[in-house]
């Protein structure tokens, strides 16, 4: 299967502030790809570049083989786009907005949209501006499903949603993506919701990329080791082995891609005494915080 999205050496600045440098990754057809990172690491910037709403300082961004800044209408019709905050035309009602969009998309299927709407406690003539955030998210999702795009770009789908609506959103997407072999590119602040959803991810840090890999490999290879040390004011610097660390009094945690034996020998080589070195299981959210840090 080919790549739906190819991002090559993307670099962007806002004024003199570097957002990221040499960002590169590909999104395979039929995969669910997560763009993860803390606030201000460039997730929405990447999505804006991908949708042609921002011209990068350098690098290439291709969508279905076309330069994302000059997408043809045919390619745009293949891309479903959820704007951060589920923004839609709030002055329209459920029926009007479906009628509006249907004229633009040749593969429009209204059934999934109305199926989703039937689950909400809303009437057809209810305006979007009078709906709750959760209901608006379902309208936005329903419209994307009706568009029947090959690629879905979802920018922070979880913003403002309670646990129930987040689950509903992911359940629908999972069913849809698997059944129709759709490609999904998603960002979210609620990492725990994505654990069983993503196939691959790229994790952004401020100005750089921390890792790009299949989510299973990330969860299998990125580990947390905890130990105790008698060294007062222990400080652990980041290096090839230690990707991140936390120290509270005499207790330390190391986040690493290395094996236990490598961590042991690394600590010894740095002159750090330790006891009770052991690995602790991590969820995707733990691993995300482990690699990006809490601050």
């Amino acid at each position: 299967m080919g790549n739906v999205v190819e991002i090559k050496n993307l670099t962007h600045y806002y004024g003199k502030k570097l957002v990221f440098e040499n960002l590169s990754f590909n999104i395979r057809e039929g995969s669910i790809f997560g763009l993860l990172g803390k606030n201000g690491t460039g997730k929405t910037t990447t999505i804006n570049i991908l949708n042609g709403f921002l011209r990068p300082k350098s690098g290439k961004c291709l969508m279905f083989g076309e330069d994302s800044y000059n997408l043809s209408p045919t390619t745009k019709a293949r891309v479903g786009f959820l704007i951060e905050g589920h923004i839609q035309y709030s002055y329209m009602n459920i029926k009007q907005i479906e009628k509006f969009y249907s004229a633009f998309y040749p593969r429009w299927k209204k059934e999934p949209y109305y199926e989703l709407m039937s689950k909400l406690a809303v009437t057809e003539d209810q305006k979007l501006s009078k709906m709750s955030c959760g209901q608006r998210s379902q309208v936005a999702l329903g419209l994307i499903l009706a568009q029947d795009p090959d690629l879905l770009i979802l920018d922070d789908y979880s913003m403002g949603l309670d646990a129930g609506y987040r689950r509903l959103f992911i359940d629908y997407l999972t069913e849809y993506a698997k059944a129709e072999n759709k490609t999904i590119f998603i960002t979210s602040h609620i990492i725990q919701d994505l654990e069983n959803f993503l196939d691959e991810c790229v994790i952004l840090d401020y100005r750089s990329v921390l890792c790009t890999m299949p989510i299973k490999d990330f969860l299998a290879n990125f580990k947390q080791f905890r130990f105790e040390s008698s060294i007062p004011d222990l400080k652990l610097e980041k290096d090839d082995v230690i990707k991140n660390s936390e120290v509270i009094k005499n207790k330390a945690a190391i986040y690493t891609f290395a094996k236990k034996e490598e961590v042991e020998s690394h600590l010894v080589s740095k002159g750090i005494n330790f006891t009770n070195l052991h690995q602790e299981a991590m969820s995707l959210e733990d691993a995300f915080i482990g690699i990006t840090g809490k601050y």
Partner: protein
Amino acid sequence: MFKSLVFKEWLKIRWVFTGLAILNFLVVMNIYFDLLNTFKVYSANVVVGQFQAYEIVFYSNIEYILLFTGLILGVFQLFPEINQTRLKLTFHLPVKENKLMFQMVSVGVLLLITIFLFDAALLSIICIKFLPREFFESMLITTLPWYVGGICTYIWLVTIFIEPNWVKRTISILVAVGIISLFYAGDGFGKYAFSAWYFVLLTGFCSSIIFLSAYNFKRGIC
């Protein structure tokens, strides 16, 4: 697709359009009743003589209403697009951005023309009913820049709203104030007889700047 875009724009501005149409109608009716009252109090010869001698523009109440109409229609059409960068939704539609922009602005301009033609028709009827033909011709020439000024105000408002850069936006506001003030610089009795059509050309030129702002919007929003 254009029909669908018209549908979207209409949903957005139908109430403000109706309100502005009513406002324009009331102002023209006010002009009519003022004139009717004048003709009741004074003889026709006296009124016509006074109008000619003092170059009285009895329809001057409509002047800034036309500017206001363009301004308000623009605000109500563009604010929902700019608020929460909703214009991204429109630009994501499978149509070239310039074409979408042109179609959106065309809807606004056509609605303004509808109101203005209505005003012009009513004023013409009033003029022909009460006054000699030369007043009618003078009225057309005098009011043409005001109508076009209303459209030009609308066009500049669109330009200013979609421009994402605050420096360029400020410059646009200053240029817009300068240009639009030309349309309302003189209200005397056919003063624009030799230049009225230049205002139409100027408005046509100003329209092209919308595409520059749309380009800036697409290139630089975050």
